[in-house]
Amino acid sequence: MPAPDRPLLTVEHLTMRFGGLVAVHDVSFTAAGRRITAIIGPNGAGKTTVFNCITGFYSPTVGRIVLHGGRGDFLLERMEGYLIAQKARVARTFQNIRLFPRMSVLENLLVAQHNALMRASGMSVLGLLGAAGFRHAEREAVDHARYWLDRTALADVADIDAGTLPYGAQRRLEIARAMCTRPALLCLDEPAAGLNHAESRDLNHLLRFIRDEHEIGVLLIEHDMSVVMEISDHVVVLDYGRKIAEGSPEAVRHSPDVIRAYLGEEEGEALPPEVTADLKGEGGAGAAHERGPAETQ
């Protein structure tokens, strides 16, 4: 376990309102470099909203989001979405995969290196003239892409359209594409969704590799508890847009607030007595059944 780093990302008092709906309310947390920070919570807890605020797809109603990068601090809440990726080097993936389906796998990875290649091609002018400098830069870009293709076991399919890949491969490609931008912080929105057991184990390997070898911070939203508990160093739990717990996976797992958020209130506290009485028969069995899997997680 690497020594604790200074925070890479600081989120302070983040609030996001959509009209009257408060999707995220006063959430603060930090994510360290070389650490995997997981944001978990029930459906509708505001996880993806937090992500969209960090990556510039929403501008938060209130709050400050600072990325402490190698080249100084960036106030993400004030930056345009594409600049967050370009200057602050925050890369992300999407809950519903967003590849460029009718472009080849390799092209997907080259588009991710657009800004570096654009400079090398002299804003296209040198590239049109076929300058040697650009050809060299392009070869380097292909080598970089090749590196991530090997890491994600996609090198064999590099020349076919990304849209024709199987689901698990598309997920891996999206991570490879995000990594090709050479990010300081990698944000993954439910990377294990829809993966089978073996694929999800490979994903754990990949994420650990990214954390340990590339020394970048990873922020992930995840429902799959096996992924969260196994690989994350730090867990932030959201419920109804509020942060209800934060800490190591072990601490979070035993936090009563978290258990309540995932399993609901204890019976009898919130329900009127007659309903409780009706439920008494199979209600106890149901609750025990529900709690079973949660405890094994």
Partner: protein, 456 residues
């Protein structure tokens, strides 16, 4: 067979006579509804001041309905026969119907063959087309009419290639492309007339003006997508046309601009009697004067312009900016998450597409010698867009095939006069039925990790 039936469920091949009659009856009813207002009544004038009268033409209506009824029956019978031919698997029949059936069956196959063919084959097709294009004025059967037709087709090919950058690569649906064509044409006409500049000096200026207009339009509207962008560009096309009509002092309004200088061959004019002190093209080369010399020269100018457009597009597709255009077409949100500036990237596509329209426009002005706002109506934009879409979005070869098919072949139906557009429409419908994603929808990656055919 099952697929055939699925394609046209309204005519199952096992139709009995009753079903055919019913189908023909419905068609006849529809044609009655159409023929009554179209053929049935005609307004006749009695000369000045004596008003109008309505003439009824029931015989026309009856003829039309009967023709549709009989035609529909014949079509259904023929379709059954045609399907039978297909089912046998293209066995050579001796009936005329069978031959037609096979020919029709082969047409969609052609596209599929081109599609599935190895790139070597597609390069061969492109090379053959290029050779034909280069040698076109030298063919003995090519008279002035065919040469002119070649110029027109090539103009549309060039415009198609230019619009392909915007629509095919960047995925921005532009219904006002002809506005940039107009900007190029008027730029050349006005610069040549007022500042005495030659065609070759005006060409880059016209391109620059058109690109400038592309950026001016692009800035406010490129945040729009899809249908909304299409509507705004459509409006922009109309704005330009209406300005051209109404800005009388500059554009001479609907009367247009005439006397636009013709291009010269590196300073040698094409004229039977050149002005004092100059040597004409035919005198310099010791040839007989022929009006086709100028047309042939224009033909090669537009061929060169079109090829420049094509080479530029082929090359820029392989550059980061070209890939970013295609990525934007595929998913703009993903592009933003990768640090690509969507606005600038779209603007470059818009400006470069407009620039080629500007080149095309100034060629159009010098070829015609006369331009007026009538030449830049919406239908031109629609035709260019149709060429791009029917050719297969993003496919360079597809644009050529679609332009030859829609412009060149339709031209041979000119003797049908006002029904010529029917042939145009029929061509479009045929392509959409057989090749719904365009003639050539195939796309090759712009860069490969493994050489083609090599097993990884």
């Amino acid at each position: 067979m099952a697929a055939e039936t699925a394609d046209t469920p309204q005519h199952p091949p096992q139709d009995g006579i009753a079903a055919i009659l019913k189908d023909a009856g419905i068609a006849a009813l529809i044609s009655l509804a159409l023929a009554l207002p179209l053929f049935g009544f005609r307004i006749v004038g009695f000369g000045s001041g004596r008003g109008l009268a309505l003439e009824e033409r029931w015989d026309w209506v009856v003829t039309a309905v009967l023709a549709v009824f009989a035609g529909r029956i014949a079509l259904n019978l023929w379709l059954r026969r045609f399907r039978a031919v297909l089912a046998i698997g293209g066995r050579v029949g001796d009936g005329v119907g069978d031959k037609i059936g096979q020919a029709v069956a082969a047409a969609p196959r052609l596209g599929r063959i081109l599609q599935a063919a190895k790139p070597a084959f597609r390069i061969a097709v492109a090379g053959a087309l290029l050779a034909v294009a280069l040698a076109w004025p030298a063919f003995p059967f090519v008279d002035r009419y065919l040469l002119d037709l070649g110029v027109i087709v090539l103009t549309y090919v060039m415009l198609g290639w230019g619009l392909n950058i915007v629509v095919g690569l960047a995925g921005l649906l532009d219904l006002g492309y002809v506005a940039f064509y107009a900007v190029g044409a008027y730029s050349y006409a006005l610069l040549a007339l007022h500042f005495d500049l030659g065609f070759w000096e005006c060409l880059p200026l016209a391109g620059a003006f058109a690109a400038f207009f592309g950026i001016v339009l692009g800035f406010p509207v490129l945040r729009l997508r899809g249908d909304y962008l299409a509507i705004v560009t459509l409006g922009f096309g109309e704005i330009i046309r209406i300005i051209l009509i109404n800005w009388y002092p500059v554009t001479n309004g609907p009367n247009g601009i005439s006397g636009i200088p013709r291009p010269s061959f590196f300073g040698l004019p094409f004229a039977a009697d050149p002005p004092e002190g100059t040597v004409a093209f035919h005198q310099f080369f010791g040839l007989e004067y022929a009006s086709t010399q100028r047309i042939a020269f224009l033909y090669y100018v537009i061929l060169a312009l079109a090829l420049v457009t094509n080479l530029f597009t082929l090359r820029i597709r392989r550059l980061p900016v070209g890939r970013a255009w295609e990525a934007l077409r595929e998913d703009e949100i993903a592009c933003r998450s990768l640090g690509i500036n969507p606005r600038n990237t779209k603007l470059t596509a818009f400006a470069i597409g407009a620039m080629f329209a500007g080149f095309g426009g100034s060629f159009f002005a010098t070829r015609q010698g006369f331009i007026s706002p009538e030449s830049f109506s919406f239908i031109e934009s629609a035709i260019i867009l149709a060429i791009v879409v029917l050719g297969g979005m993003g496919s360079q070869l597809g644009v050529v095939l679609a332009a030859v098919l829609l412009i060149g072949v339709t031209e041979f139906f000119r003797e049908l006069e006002q029904f010529r557009m029917l042939a145009f429409g029929a061509g479009m419908v045929a392509i959409m039925v057989w090749r719904p994603r365009g003639l050539l929808a195939h796309r090759d990656p712009t860069i490969r990790l493994h050489a083609r055919g090599e097993k990884a």
